[in-house]
Symmetry: C2
Subunit: 210 residues, 2 copies
């Protein structure tokens, strides 16, 4: 296992591989060739072989990959073979959409507590979760063993949300707010920015029209 | 201008640079050093210099970058210095969150029409837009000059949504549905997948705990 050295670009593609592999499993496929898997994932087959090599010796020459074995091994290596308890901070439109997004819990990321600082929202039930005052972050992180914080506040409140999460002992953060946050070095932060996808499509259309 | 050859990773970072530069402009900053810009963007300064070099000769030695000039030039190069008319297909929770997300129109991506195939949703007003039957995609793409399609359907309906958009003459697609779609080669497709960010954070936490 060389999982410590997995490059970030590989981790990005693994999300696609897992999605495609789980759809294949759902359809009853047990074995798939690297070419067919590559095509289904929209990458080339040498890339997929290189990426999967980080997880050990997979694939049987002339046969292909065992779908279930591959899913299990990727999940173990990434640490997503278990449930991660998550906190969501900011119950606006995006926060509500994420709370309603069944894929989160399906993929092992269980949003256990939703925080907001708006007194009109505190106490409201959203998808069965009571909205909790952001000041109680520390208390709730301990009570529920929350590990990952998901920030969906407006941009100007993202740093304050991050401060509450860090003070409370959160281990990692996903920031959907369109602003950068400062946290101690040992806390991993990932930014979700939809717009580079829009930029990339707009740019490609522009090149196509030349 | 070498914009045809801009690597995809650079385009990904440009979204961050633009966000940070626009915040700086908003705060009244006119000139910024490459070191300060790099720090605000959470990248190293040689990376930022390399990325920005695709857009021409920027930065004045010993002075820094002119914020407004840089914003204008990046936007021109990417083709995001104008309004792109967008269609959204699938008015579920995520679709509604995107329709309410003011950043889209602020960044030049104006969602002009929202489609759904559910008869109970057709005719409903969401953020001032009337939900239109998906069968009318072709007609509306022409009527509104729609160029980019945003798919927010459940995964099993994404391909059908893509077919409608392609038949209607759409120029590019952003797919938020967790499934791959097949479209003609000349139509750029970008997939928005939140989960690789969650995987990356979970993986980093796992490494930290070793």
């Amino acid at each position: 296992m060389k999982s410590e050295h997995i490059p970030k670009a590989t981790i990005g593609r693994l999300a696609v591989y897992i999605q495609v592999l789980e759809n294949l499993k759902h359809d009853g496929v047990e074995i798939i060739s690297s070419e067919a898997l590559a095509q289904a994932c929209s990458v080339n087959s040498s890339q997929i072989r290189k990426d999967l090599a980080y997880f050990g010796e997979f694939g049987v020459r002339g046969v292909g990959y065992y779908v279930q074995e591959l899913i299990t091994s990727i999940k173990q290596s990434l640490g997503i073979d278990r449930i991660w308890n998550c906190a969501l901070v900011g119950v606006g439109n995006l926060g509500r959409a994420l709370l309603r997004h069944r894929e989160f819990s399906r993929k092992g990321f269980a949003i256990k507590v939703a925080f907001d600082c708006d007194p009109y929202k505190i106490g409201e039930l959203v998808e069965g979760l009571e909205v909790i005052c952001t000041r109680k972050t520390k208390e709730k992180i301990r009570e529920y063993g929350l590990e990952i914080g998901i920030i969906t506040t407006p941009p100007e409140r993202a740093q304050r949300a991050a401060n509450y999460l860090v003070d409370g002992g959160i281990k990692g953060i996903i920031n959907y707010a369109p602003s950068r946050i400062q946290v101690p070095d040992h806390i991993p932060v990932e930014y979700v920015d939809f717009f580079h996808h829009l930029y990339a499509v707009a740019f490609q259309i522009k090149l196509n029209e030349k």
